[in-house]
């Protein structure tokens, strides 16, 4: 009954969204009076979708939590033994539910966007509704008609099948127990990773909607960018955190000793991040200098379609991957949707091409706008590498018939130099001025931090490593950090002198005065810290594997590991746990015990290798229990990794959060002040 109700709600939500889409699209043809009321009607319909989808989602969660296995989706992703919080997160643990989750977020964000103050840009409203409702309608339609989480099992004469409605001469069929969530997803990291990623994906739809609105209305100034700046920043934050959480999850449950495997689906989520990052930088050029209008439009269109493309890759079975959902009929639909949206947006952009002309001109190759252009070129280059890495196996299979793997070596080789160049630009760009910079002015600002970076690199060369890649990387990191710190210091000093504040107050006021800039610097700093972690694990990771008897020892990188005990028992949710106890020693000193284990899930017939970890800022000790057979007395096989510096990666991501929060936190007062000031300017202008 509840499932039928949920299905009904979904259908209603779909038709409401369709109504909003059509009404806002058709309003343009009507007389202004009528058009306004149509847009208002569409807006209300749009706002109605959120409570509707929330209700449908609540019903689905109710079904999931209460073991309603007669519902196909519930059967697929839960089982009796799962704890309740996992039953709730199973909402996005399968195809149908995650599409509903996507729709829910989409409607929440679209509603938020339509609730804002539209006073100054009413002409955008219908088109923003149109784009966001069109996207929402697509996802809702898919959820309602193709991947419906409310389908139920019925026993007919042909056997058991899942149907929308009860077929004639059939009985409801309720399996005893569900199949259970994919063990890979039964992890706290999985609670956060998909929602953050989806949040990032969905919130990029809003800037896209405004961009399209600007293209349609022909309003070619940077208003759409100013409105959506915070949306884009938050989207970027969510996406970044989605990726970081994904990495952390992989590190904790996949047992590779790493956090990123250049898996096609990881790359699918990484590609919109790349264009999104390029977008965040290049919109600044448009705001400050009125240039690159076409390029920004193209970037946001690319970001939007890469979001859809990523979702498509994950769900269509085009690529096989550890992340891939089972293949289904929705692949072609997604593909069609990508064609329609991409072709329509690019055609619209080409149509408006002539009117999007630059207001100023580039004067110096070292000006900040020029450096930002190089930054964009580099991000696009990384995108090209990633895109080709994903597409190449496909073309190879289609044209030569032989499947190829494009693994980490390709990506590392191809993107390494690009990332290094990006770090370098990240260092010098903040020091160059808008409009005009010469080698001399740049050099004057640059030399002190550069000396510090060189000194640090020399020290590393003397005491830590002779690896040329590592030294280059660490030099660039030191360069970025010293420049960023220097910039803060200079700004605070200047303020200290002119306003007679103490240094800390000057620092905080400085940040408050230009939060976007100084928040951005913090983000740069955090990227540098993350780079330290990445360099550490990529270049200095060491590993060893061996089979030990009880009380035997194995050592690696200054750590001694003693195999002490092993036990096999049944865990609370029915999994079979094989857990080893190993003692860790360093220089003969006991540091503590670690418990690497293998979890075998009977319901899913899948084993997971969970590492025992000991984390310090210097390195991570990461121990896997590879193999143990209770029957044979040959001991247990362990694999040990020492991952130097990897915690800087996680720490860096926290600073990233702070930086973005500073840059993007809503400034109520300032926004109001701007509105007020602009009104006054208008009044003054009108009075004249």
């Amino acid at each position: 009954m509840i499932a039928h109700f949920g299905f009904g709600i979904l259908l209603i939500a779909f038709f409401v969204t369709l109504y909003a889409t059509l009404t806002s699209a058709l309003s343009k043809r009507e007389a202004p009076q009528r058009a306004a009321s149509m847009v208002e009607s569409a807006r209300r319909a749009m706002l109605l979708t959120f409570p509707l989808i929330t209700l449908a989602s609540a019903l689905l969660i109710y079904l999931l939590v209460n073991n309603h296995f007669e519902v196909q989706f519930v059967y697929q992703v839960t089982s009796r033994s799962m704890p309740t919080y996992l039953k709730v997160t199973a909402w996005w643990g399968g195809q149908a539910g995650s599409l509903l989750f996507w729709s829910w977020l989409m409607s929440a964000f679209a509603s938020l966007a339509t609730l804002r103050n539209w006073e100054r840009d009413r002409e955008f409203l219908p088109w923003v509704i149109l784009v966001s409702c069109f996207t929402l309608a697509f996802f809702l339609g898919m959820t309602a008609f193709f991947e419906n989480p409310f389908k139920m099992f019925y026993q007919t004469s042909d056997g058991v099948g899942a149907y929308f409605f009860q077929p004639a001469n059939s009985m409801l069929f309720t399996p005893e127990d569900g199949r259970g969530l994919n063990p890979l997803l039964r992890h706290p990291g999985m609670v956060a990773h998909p929602p953050l990623l989806y949040l990032g994906f969905v919130s990029f739809v809003i800037p896209f909607a405004f961009a399209i609105a600007a293209l349609i209305t022909g309003r070619t100034d940077d208003r759409w960018i100013r409105i959506t700046r915070r949306w884009a920043l938050w989207a970027w934050l969510f996406l970044t955190f989605g990726l970081v959480f994904g990495g952390r999850w992989a590190y904790d449950v996949l047992g590779w000793g790493g956090y990123w495997g250049w898996d096609p689906v990881e790359i699918a989520a990484f590609m919109p991040w790349l264009t999104g990052t390029a977008f965040l930088h290049s919109v600044m050029i448009q705001e400050k200098r009125g240039m690159l209008k076409h390029w920004n439009m193209l970037l946001i269109i690319l970001t939007y379609d890469l979001v859809i493309f990523g979702t498509f890759l994950t769900r269509s079975g085009v690529l096989s991957s550890v992340h891939a959902f089972a293949q289904s009929a929705i692949g072609p639909l997604f593909f069609g949707y990508i064609i329609v949206t991409f072709v329509a947006s690019v055609a619209l952009l080409l149509h408006r091409w002539g009117s999007l002309k630059a207001e100023t001109e580039m004067k110096s190759l070292l000006s900040r706008e020029a450096l930002f252009l190089f930054n964009n070129l580099l991000f696009m280059s990384v995108l090209v590498v990633c895109f080709w890495g994903v597409i190449y196996p496909l073309t190879s299979e289609l044209f030569t018939g032989s499947k190829v793997t494009v693994g980490p070596p390709f990506y590392e080789r191809a993107t390494g130099p690009l990332f290094a160049a990006l770090l370098f630009l990240m260092g010098i760009a903040p020091l160059s001025a808008w409009g005009h910079s010469t080698l001399k002015t740049l050099g004057r600002a640059l030399w002190k931090p550069a000396v510090v970076a060189v000194a640090i690199t020399l020290a590393l060369y003397a005491f830590y490593t002779r690896n040329a890649y590592a030294l280059t990387g660490f030099f660039l990191v030191a360069f970025v950090v010293s420049i960023t710190v220097y910039e803060y210091w200079r700004g605070a000093r200047a303020r200290q002198k002119s306003k007679h504040e103490n240094f800390l107050a000057a620092l905080s006021n400085l940040t408050k005065r230009d939060r976007r800039r100084y928040g951005g610097y913090l983000v740069h700093l955090s990227i540098a810290l993350m780079a330290i972690g990445i360099l550490g694990i990529e270049l200095f990771q060491i590993e060893t594997q061996g089979t030990l008897e009880i009380n035997q020892r194995m050592n690696l990188g200054g750590y001694d590991m003693q195999y002490q005990d092993i036990a096999r028992f049944t865990g609370p949710d029915g999994r079979e746990v094989t857990r080893a106890v190993v003692g860790i020693y360093q220089n003969g000193q006991f540091l503590g015990n670690l418990h690497p284990r293998i979890d075998y899930y009977w319901d899913a017939q899948q084993a997971m290798t969970i590492p025992g970890q000991r984390a310090t800022m210097k390195d991570d000790l990461y121990i896997l229990l590879v193999n143990w057979e209770p029957a044979s007395a040959s001991g247990a096989t362990f694999k040990i990794y020492v991952n130097p510096l990897v915690n800087w990666l996680w720490m860096g991501s926290l600073l990233f959060l702070v930086g973005i929060a500073i840059a993007a936190w809503p400034e109520k007062d300032r926004e109001r002040a701007i509105v007020k000031a602009s009104r006054q300017i208008h009044e003054v202008g009108a009075a004249k």
Binding site: V318, F342, S402
Partner: protein
């Protein structure tokens, strides 16, 4: 990056055409990939293209080191994809061997075991363990399995005397009769 050019006019026609050709090409590639992903295995009724199977030593046909499917025209061919690491394959191994012992003397049926992603050492151990004597060989470079677009092992394909695929069995056979039920009609 042509888009960064601040053009005062519309985009030149050649650029527009290039952009669209590039986009359409890309979309076609993805569409082909999607089409491939959506297809199941090769469907019955289809003429099977020729392929070459290299045999394991001791599992040859008349001392030939390899054979082409086209050499077997006029006979019913059963192609069984298996692997030594595949547990369900073990369920059907004995039945397959019994079926082979039944049909081999007639000379009208050929069984070909195609060993998918396996090492020779363990494959030979497996064949010995289940007393298998019908011709067997590795799926070199996974070419054969790619042609049939197999979804897993075991999978079995029945090809008639004209080289047309007649039936596909996904998963193991549970008894001898199931195998006979596919071969006998083809022999009539």
């Amino acid at each position: 990056m042509t888009e960064t050019t601040p053009s005062r006019r519309a985009v030149p026609l050649w650029a527009q055409i290039t952009i669209w050709i590039f986009l359409v090409g890309l979309l076609i590639i993805i569409a082909m990939g999607l089409n491939r992903a959506q297809q199941g295995t090769v469907q019955p009724g289809q003429q099977i293209a020729d392929f070459k199977l290299t045999f394991y030593d001791g599992y040859r046909i008349d001392e030939n080191a390899e054979i082409n499917l086209s050499d077997l025209r006029g006979k019913v061919v059963m192609i069984n994809f298996w692997a030594s690491w595949c547990k369900p394959c073990e369920q059907e191994a004995a039945d397959l061997q019994r079926a082979w012992e039944k049909y081999e003397p007639s000379g009208k049926v050929v069984f070909l075991g195609v060993d998918y992603v396996d090492t020779e050492t363990s494959a030979l151990v497996y064949l010995k363990k289940f007393g298998i004597t019908f011709p067997n060989g590795p799926d070199l470079a996974t070419k054969i399995s790619q042609y049939f677009r197999i979804r897993g092992v075991p999978e079995t394909y029945f090809i008639d005397q004209q080289g047309v695929l007649r039936y596909v069995q996904i998963g193991p056979f549970v008894n001898l009769e199931q195998i006979e039920a596919q071969i006998d009609p083809l022999l009539k």
